[in-house]
C-alpha cells in the first residue's frame, strides 16, 4: 500500500472517530429533558387498601425567568401500594425524566405517623441523591394540599417550602428542622423521639405557617407540641437565636431579644435519691422593647425576673414531654451512651424516665437595655 493511500485511510478513520463524539454517553440527558421534583407529599390512599397517595410537586422551567410572575408548578398524584411503585407509575405520566436530586422536602400526612414509619420511608433513605439534603415535615391538612399549595411570596426559580428550613431565608425559633437522615436515625434509635415541624397554610392570605411541631412515637399516636413549646424546645436543642421573650411585671412590659442560648444537662442517679436531670441554661441577649425608661444598672433585676419566668416555661415543656412519655431531647440516648451497656439498659431507662425529676438552673444575661443613651 502506498504512503498516500495509508494517509487517506488514517485521515478517514480519525474523521469517523471524531464523528463518534457526536454520540453522547449513555447517562447523557440534557437538563431540559429532566423535570425537577421539588416536593413529595405522602397521604394514606383512599382507593388502594393499605396504600399511599404520593404527590409530586414538579417545577415548570420558564424561558424568561425575570418575566414570570411566579414559579410555575405542576402536580402529579398517584395511588399505589408502596411509594416506589407510585413513583415508578408516575414516570409514565410525564415525558421527561423525574429528577429527584433537587427534592428537599417530604411532607407526611399526620395519619401516617402512627404507622410503620420505617417501611414507607425506606424508599427515600435508600436514594443516595436525596438522603442527605431532604427535610421531613408533617402536614397540618393533607400532604397533597400542602405540597400543591403555592404561597404568594414565591417568585420564579425558588421554592418556599424549604426556604423555611435551610436557614437561608427565615430564621425563627418556631421553625424546627429535621433532615431525612436525622429522621431515620432517630426513628430507629432507642432513647430518642423524632420531632417534625408541622406545615400549615392559610388559604385566604396565601401563606404557609410553620410554627408547631410534633413528636413521634413508634407505633403510637404522636404528641403535638404547642407553638410556645416548639419555641422552647427548638431554642434549647438547636441553639436557635432570634429568640424573643416577653415579661410582664406590675405595669412593666419587657421584650427580650436573646442571641445566644446554651444548654447543658447531666443525668444524676445517686443511691437513695430520686433520679434527676440537672439542666443548666444560659441565655444572652438585649432588651428590645419596653414600656418604661430603663436603667442599665437595673439589668440584674430584669435578668432575675426573666430567668424565673423562662424557667417555668421550660419546666412546663419538660414535664409535658415526660407525662406523654416522649423524649425528643434524647435523655435516654445520653443515658445509654454514658452507662455500662447491657441488654436491659433501655428498659431500665424506660422505668426511670417517668419518675425522673428536672432541676433547671436558668441564667439570663442581658447585655444592655438596647437603648441609645
Amino acid at each position: 500500500m502506498s504512503g498516500t493511500q495509508k494517509m487517506i485511510k488514517r485521515f478517514f478513520s480519525i474523521l469517523m472517530l471524531i464523528a463518534l463524539l457526536f454520540q453522547s454517553g449513555c447517562a447523557f440527558k440534557d437538563i431540559d429533558k429532566r423535570i425537577f421534583v421539588l416536593g413529595i407529599g405522602i397521604d394514606p390512599s383512599e382507593t388502594v387498601e393499605d396504600g399511599f397517595r404520593v404527590t409530586l410537586k414538579l417545577a415548570k422551567p420558564a424561558g424568561e425567568v425575570k418575566a414570570e410572575a411566579a414559579q410555575g408548578f405542576t402536580h402529579l398524584a398517584h395511588d399505589a401500594e408502596s411509594i416506589a411503585e407510585a413513583i415508578r407509575d408516575m414516570e409514565t405520566h410525564v415525558d421527561k425524566k423525574l429528577e429527584m436530586g433537587h427534592n428537599r422536602s417530604i411532607v407526611l400526612n399526620k395519619e401516617l405517623l402512627s404507622k410503620d414509619m420505617d417501611t414507607f420511608m425506606d424508599y427515600f433513605t435508600r436514594r443516595a441523591d436525596i438522603q442527605m439534603i431532604t427535610y421531613v415535615a408533617v402536614a397540618e391538612k393533607t400532604a397533597e394540599e400542602t405540597v400543591s399549595f403555592a404561597p404568594d411570596t414565591e417568585p420564579p426559580a425558588t421554592i418556599a417550602l424549604y426556604n423555611f428550613f435551610d436557614n437561608t431565608g427565615t430564621e425563627s425559633p418556631y421553625v424546627l428542622t429535621t433532615f431525612l437522615f436525622e429522621f431515620r436515625r432517630e426513628v430507629l434509635s432507642k432513647g430518642i423521639n423524632t420531632v417534625l415541624p408541622i406545615i400549615d397554610f392559610n388559604e385566604e392570605q396565601k401563606h404557609f405557617i410553620v410554627n408547631k411541631s410534633i413528636v413521634l412515637k413508634w407505633g403510637e399516636e404522636p404528641v403535638e407540641l404547642t407553638q410556645v413549646q416548639t419555641k422552647y424546645f427548638n431554642s434549647l436543642i438547636n441553639n436557635v437565636s432570634n429568640f424573643t421573650y416577653k415579661i410582664e411585671e406590675d405595669n412593666l412590659h419587657l421584650v427580650l431579644h436573646i442571641d445566644e442560648v446554651k444548654m447543658k444537662y447531666q443525668i444524676i442517679l445517686d443511691e437513695g435519691e430520686t433520679p434527676r436531670i440537672d439542666m443548666k441554661i444560659t441565655k444572652v441577649g438585649v432588651i428590645s422593647e419596653s414600656t418604661k425608661r430603663l436603667n442599665n444598672s437595673d439589668l440584674k433585676k430584669y435578668d432575675k425576673i426573666a430567668a424565673d419566668d423562662i424557667k417555668k416555661k421550660v419546666m412546663d415543656l419538660l414535664t409535658t414531654l415526660q407525662e406523654n412519655n416522649v423524649d425528643p431531647f434524647g435523655f435516654g440516648l445520653r443515658y445509654r451512651a454514658t452507662r455500662l451497656s447491657h441488654k436491659d439498659t433501655i428498659d431500665e431507662w424506660n422505668r426511670i424516665y417517668p419518675e425522673i425529676e428536672f432541676n433547671v438552673t436558668m441564667d439570663i444575661n442581658l447585655k444592655s437595655t438596647g437603648a441609645v443613651e
Partner: protein
C-alpha cells in the same frame, strides 16, 4: 606598466556569486600600492567601508603600514574555510587582499537595529521596550541590564539554509553544567531546513511531534530574561528575531508575569490568585457546563438549575454540541482578531462578540447561560501571561470537553487527573515540568516520608 592581479581566490568567489549584481570586486591602487576588495554591496555598510578601509589606504605611505593597520582593526576576524567564508560574505563581511595577505573584516549593514516595544507581554510598570531583531543589539540590551563577568555569550552558527547566528547566554556561576551541555547538544543536533525565528527554534527544541505543552518559553521582555539568567537558566538568542528562548522552564513560569515583582504584596497575591482562578475557569468551565447540565444537574443550586433548564427551552442540540459550537466561534473570533489589521480589529470583535452572542441566544441556538460561560472562558484565557500557554490551554479544554461529554462529572475528573499526570511526567531539559519552585527536587522526593 606592471599591474597586480587579484588573488585567484577572488575569482573563484566571483564565480560562486554570479550573477548577483550587488557583488563588488574592486582594486585599490595608488603609487604602485595595491589592495583588492571583495564584498556584497547590499549587506555592507558603505560609509564605514569608506572611513575605515578606503580612506586610510590612500593616506598610508606603504603597503606594509596599511597591512598592519588592517591587521589591528577590531572587526577583523580570522579566515575561515571556504564554505564558511561564503556564508560570512553573504552576511556582510569584506574580503581584503594586500600583497599575499587576505583579511576578513566585519562591516555589516544591519537595518533592523531599533529596539521594539513590548507587545506580547505588556505590563503597567517595568520596562516598556523589548529586544531588537539584531542579535548584537539584543545581547547589548541584556548585558546592559546584567553587569556580571560571569555572564557568558557563546555564539553558534545554525546549520540550516539561513545560517543565522544563535547565541547562548548564561550566568556561568549559576547555571547547571549538565543542563548547559544538554542545550548545546540539542542545538548542534538541530536538523531543520530553514530557521526563521525563536518560535521556530523552540518548536524544534520541543522534542516529539505531539506535544501539548511548550517546554521552552519565548519572551520579549529584558527584565524576564535577566530574572531568569539570575536563576541559572539559559537564554537562546537567535538573529533576526525579537524574541528569545528561555530553557529550562517549569509550568509555573508560564503563569508568572514580571509585574508580580513590581507590586506590593497584597496586589501581587491578588493578581496571582486571579490568574490561577482564570486558568481553572478556562480549562474547566465549558466541560463543567456539559457535565452539570447533562449528567449531574443536582450539583447546581435549584435556582440555577431552573434558570439553566429554562434557558435551554427550544435549544435544538444537546449541551455539548452547543458548547462545541460556541467555543468554535469564539476560537474563530480570537484567531481572526489576532490576524486582522488593527483598524478592522474592533469591528470584528464587536460583530462577533456582541451581535453573534445576542443573536444566537435569540434564535434559541444556545442558552443565555451558555453565552455567559463562553464569554467567561474567553476572557479568562487572556489572563494567562504567556501566550503559548494560553494556546495550549485552549486545546486542552477541548479534550476535557470530550471527556465530560462522554462520561459526565466522572469523566471530567478523570480527564483532569490525566492532564495532571501528563504534566507530571513531562520534563524540560531534565527539570520536572510541575516542579514546585520553592522546594528542591530532593526535598520533593522525600515528601512522602514525612
Amino acid at each position: 606598466m606592471f599591474e597586480k592581479k587579484a588573488p585567484p581566490l577572488f575569482d573563484g568567489l566571483a564565480e560562486q556569486f554570479k550573477p548577483s549584481d550587488d557583488m563588488i570586486q574592486t582594486p585599490l591602487h595608488m603609487n604602485g600600492q595595491y589592495a583588492f576588495l571583495f564584498y556584497l554591496k547590499s549587506v555592507v555598510d558603505g560609509n564605514t567601508l569608506q572611513q575605515t578601509v578606503i580612506k586610510p589606504f590612500f593616506e598610508m605611505s606603504s603597503e606594509e603600514s596599511f597591512t598592519s593597520y588592517i591587521q589591528s582593526l577590531p572587526n577583523r576576524i580570522d579566515m575561515p574555510n571556504i564554505d564558511k567564508l561564503l556564508i560570512l560574505l553573504s552576511a556582510g563581511f569584506v574580503l581584503i587582499a594586500i600583497g599575499n595577505h587576505i583579511f576578513l573584516l566585519d562591516i555589516r549593514l544591519v537595518s533592523n537595529k531599533e529596539v521594539q516595544d513590548t507587545l506580547m507581554e505588556p505590563t503597567v510598570h517595568g520596562p516598556q521596550k523589548g529586544l531588537s531583531e539584531d542579535i548584537e543589539v539584543t545581547i547589548n540590551l541584556i548585558r546592559q541590564r546584567y553587569h556580571q563577568p560571569s555572564l557568558k555569550v557563546e555564539t553558534i552558527l545554525s546549520d540550516d539554509e539561513s545560517n543565522r547566528a544563535i547565541a547562548l547566554l548564561y550566568d556561568y556561576d549559576r547555571v547547571n553544567p549538565d543542563m548547559l551541555k544538554k542545550v548545546k547538544e540539542q542545538l548542534v543536533e538541530l536538523d531543520t531546513p530553514l530557521l526563521q525565528s525563536a518560535g521556530d527554534l523552540q518548536h524544534f527544541l520541543n522534542k516529539g511531534t505531539f506535544t501539548l505543552f511548550p517546554s521552552t518559553l519565548i519572551t520579549e521582555r529584558p527584565d524576564r530574561i535577566v530574572y531568569n539568567l539570575n536563576n541559572g537558566k539559559v537564554i537562546i538568542v537567535i538573529d533576526g528575531s525579537p524574541d528569545v528562548i528561555i530553557v529550562p522552564v517549569i509550568f509555573f513560569d508560564f503563569m508568572s508575569s514580571m509585574e508580580d515583582n513590581y507590586h506590593v504584596f497584597s496586589v501581587t497575591a491578588f493578581t496571582i490568585l486571579l490568574r490561577y482562578t482564570g486558568l481553572f475557569v478556562c480549562i474547566l468551565l465549558p466541560s463543567l457546563y456539559v457535565a452539570v447540565t447533562s449528567y449531574n444537574p443536582d450539583i447546581l443550586r435549584l435556582e440555577l438549575a431552573l434558570t439553566v433548564a429554562g434557558g435551554r427551552i427550544g435549544v435544538p442540540y444537546p449541551s455539548f454540541i452547543e458548547v462545541f459550537f460556541m467555543l468554535f466561534f469564539v476560537e474563530l473570533l480570537t484567531e481572526a482578531s489576532m490576524r486582522l489589521p488593527k483598524a478592522v480589529n474592533s469591528t470584528a470583535t464587536t460583530v462577533g462578540g456582541l451581535i453573534l452572542g445576542t443573536a444566537a441566544t435569540e434564535a434559541a441556538l444556545t442558552s443565555n447561560i451558555m453565552v455567559i460561560v463562553i464569554s467567561a472562558v474567553a476572557i479568562s484565557t487572556f489572563v494567562i501571561p504567556i501566550n503559548e500557554m494560553s494556546f495550549s490551554i485552549r486545546v486542552i479544554r477541548l479534550m476535557l470537553l470530550v471527556y465530560s461529554a462522554l462520561f459526565g462529572m466522572v469523566g471530567l475528573l478523570v480527564g483532569f487527573i490525566g492532564l495532571i499526570m501528563l504534566l507530571v511526567s513531562k520534563e524540560s531539559l531534565g527539570v520536572p515540568y510541575l516542579r514546585i519552585p520553592w522546594i528542591s527536587k530532593n526535598e520533593e522526593l522525600r515528601m512522602d516520608k514525612r
